[in-house]
Subunit: 359 residues, 2 copies
């Protein structure tokens, strides 16, 4: 199993991805893609014909194999643990299923204090020890210059799934709890924060070199409620792993206003969604944190001309300066042609190398 | 048919709604709700048992009846024409259906230059003359202190529907056209801008006193593309009706960044979606335009305590000052209890009257 390594940072002390987060000098902008291990890859689809999604997550050898697949093809600058944010609700007692042509399903849903009564974060590490196993297995094969990113859903985002039980358009049940029983909502968020902290500490112990908290549903909160229900719980997670000396990235989908709310959170890096202007994001939050993002995942449907133009526009925001990790602004879509990904990856390397040389 | 009129502006020369948009002194904050004529009202559901949605839109007496229903109950400060933004694609030749438990469906979809070739905005006024009929019928019954708002979808938002043919999660087909054939996209947007201008001019001639452009899908554009594909076409519409001396409201769903992009558009008022902080919106765009919004529609599921708290938070942003039209930050949801709407309306009147008195 050979991992692609670029000569330019072969002999550096510290991986490109981590240097960019710390705003140390870099020769080019590091790149990885959210959902880089996934359905757009033929080798992933082939493996998934034999094993269902949760079996892959729970079998360290399989999780390691799919984690490494995109690195073999494209030599990304970071690997991300193959798993799902909903393993926490499952470990807390909800049944987790992935139905065909449907998103995830959690049963039974949490709607009342009674539904919460039997749930406890204690012992969650044992229930999720297959994740530690996957991390160790991945690291056995991974080039040390390619850091492995561990991750979790944010307490708010996990709460949304646990209450709705599935994807939602209006998030009716979450909103009903938010606006009729804020105390119960906070009880659930406290439980989840405890669970997430235990979970990410276990990941760190198993060997991840960075953490990302996915706050996919941060944007369904009106801004005046975002601090109280999402940001402050994520901040507790950052505080809890502060002594571990590894960078935490917060990724709240919901535009520039959320970056403003998160810039003082202590996060080493903030994820920028594709709907946000990266230049504005830099002026709002770039002094406090590195930024990750933020090309439209659908751009990879595009012509070479348009892909090159938008990559250039994105990379120009930081130019020759450090503090930027290039990524899509959301997960790669499952029907993106692999050739377009290859072209995109080449463009990011080529353009960012040029921009850093010209400095 | 009696329309509720508040004494306080009975003798004013100009309706409260229009005064607030012009930032003239007001005694309280005017209020209406997007989708105020709709399924949450028992009298609307009763009428809809006899007539399907498009029949109501296309029959002036029925459209007038449902437009007036919420005014009889709640005495809102503006009426909005009962119609649908997709009557334009229908007039351009796409078949429009509303399937049960499904959003609208447009057939055949627009994906190529050939699909566009047979479409023309010419004569659209004749095809949509039932809208002029509805406007005249509504005005026959409407108190002159309650202005009737006409509306249209934005060219971009109509293009999204025409290309996808239905609601979408990833807007795959729109994005493919955007990133592979920008010229074709602009052709479609030019056609739609022509159609919208003809349509809103017809509405003005028929008697609407204000216009709102719904840019529901503005937020699916990355910000660097928003001017080119949405904002500049909306601006053409504003320019085209400038001589009519009636206020145009632009409502792009997509957060504070879009308000920044729209603040110099010449719009008299900007709609603020519920995900945006109204205070921030005011500091970004409030010097140029009045603001409309922006309570979370799901707030109306809430307890009286929480509804009152959030209404107060919203109204405090403008305090005793003019330039604000209170509204939800998106359409009212169909299963909101009517009693909660009544409580919400009372709270807005009571709190805003208090805030204006204390000045």
């Amino acid at each position: 199993m050979r991992i692609w390594i670029e000569e330019v940072y072969m002999n550096s002390a510290s991986p490109l991805f981590l240097r960019a987060i710390r705003k140390e000098a870099v020769d080019r902008t590091p790149l990885w893609m959210m959902r880089q291990a996934g359905r757009y890859l033929p080798e992933y689809r082939e493996l998934r014909q034999k094993y269902d999604f949760l079996t892959v997550c729970k079998t360290p050898e399989l999780a390691a194999e799919v984690t490494l697949q995109p690195l073999r093809r494209f030599g990304f600058d970071a690997a991300i643990l193959f798993s799902d944010i909903l393993v926490i609700p499952e470990a807390l007692g909800q049944e987790l299923r992935f139905a065909k042509n449907h998103g995830p399903l959690l049963n039974p849903v949490v709607r009342s204090a009674e539904d919460l009564a039997t749930m406890s974060a204690e012992g969650i590490e044992e229930k999720l020890d297959y994740v530690a196993g996957a991390i160790q297995e991945i690291n056995r094969h991974l080039d040390p210059q390619v850091p492995l990113i561990g991750f979790s859903g944010s307490p708010w985002t996990l709460a949304v799934y646990m209450i709705e039980g599935q994807g939602s358009k209006n998030f009716q049940n979450v909103k009903k709890m938010l606006y009729t029983d804020p105390e119960l909502m906070h009880q659930l968020l406290d439980l989840l924060t405890d669970a997430v902290i235990r979970y990410v500490k276990m990941q760190v112990q198993a060997g991840v070199k960075a953490l990302q908290i996915f706050d996919t549903w941060g944007g369904i909160l009106p801004i005046p409620l975002f601090q109280e229900y999402s940001a402050r719980y994520m901040q507790k997670i950052i505080d809890a792993v502060q002594s571990e000396d590894l960078p935490v990235t917060l990724f709240s989908k919901g535009g520039i206003a959320l970056l403003e709310e998160l810039k003082d959170s202590g996060a080493a890096m903030l994820g920028v969604d594709w709907g946000t202007d990266l230049a504005r994001a830099r002026s709002v939050a770039g002094a406090n944190a590195a930024l990750q993002g933020n090309l439209d995942p659908a751009l990879l449907y595009g012509s070479k001309k348009v892909i090159a133009r938008e990559v250039e526009r994105c990379l120009q925001v930081f130019g020759a300066e450090s503090g930027h990790v290039c990524n899509l602004g959301h997960g790669i879509l499952p029907d993106i042609p692999v050739d377009n990904v290859a072209f995109f990856v080449d463009q990011v390397r080529e353009i960012s190398s040029r921009l850093h040389k010209s400095a």
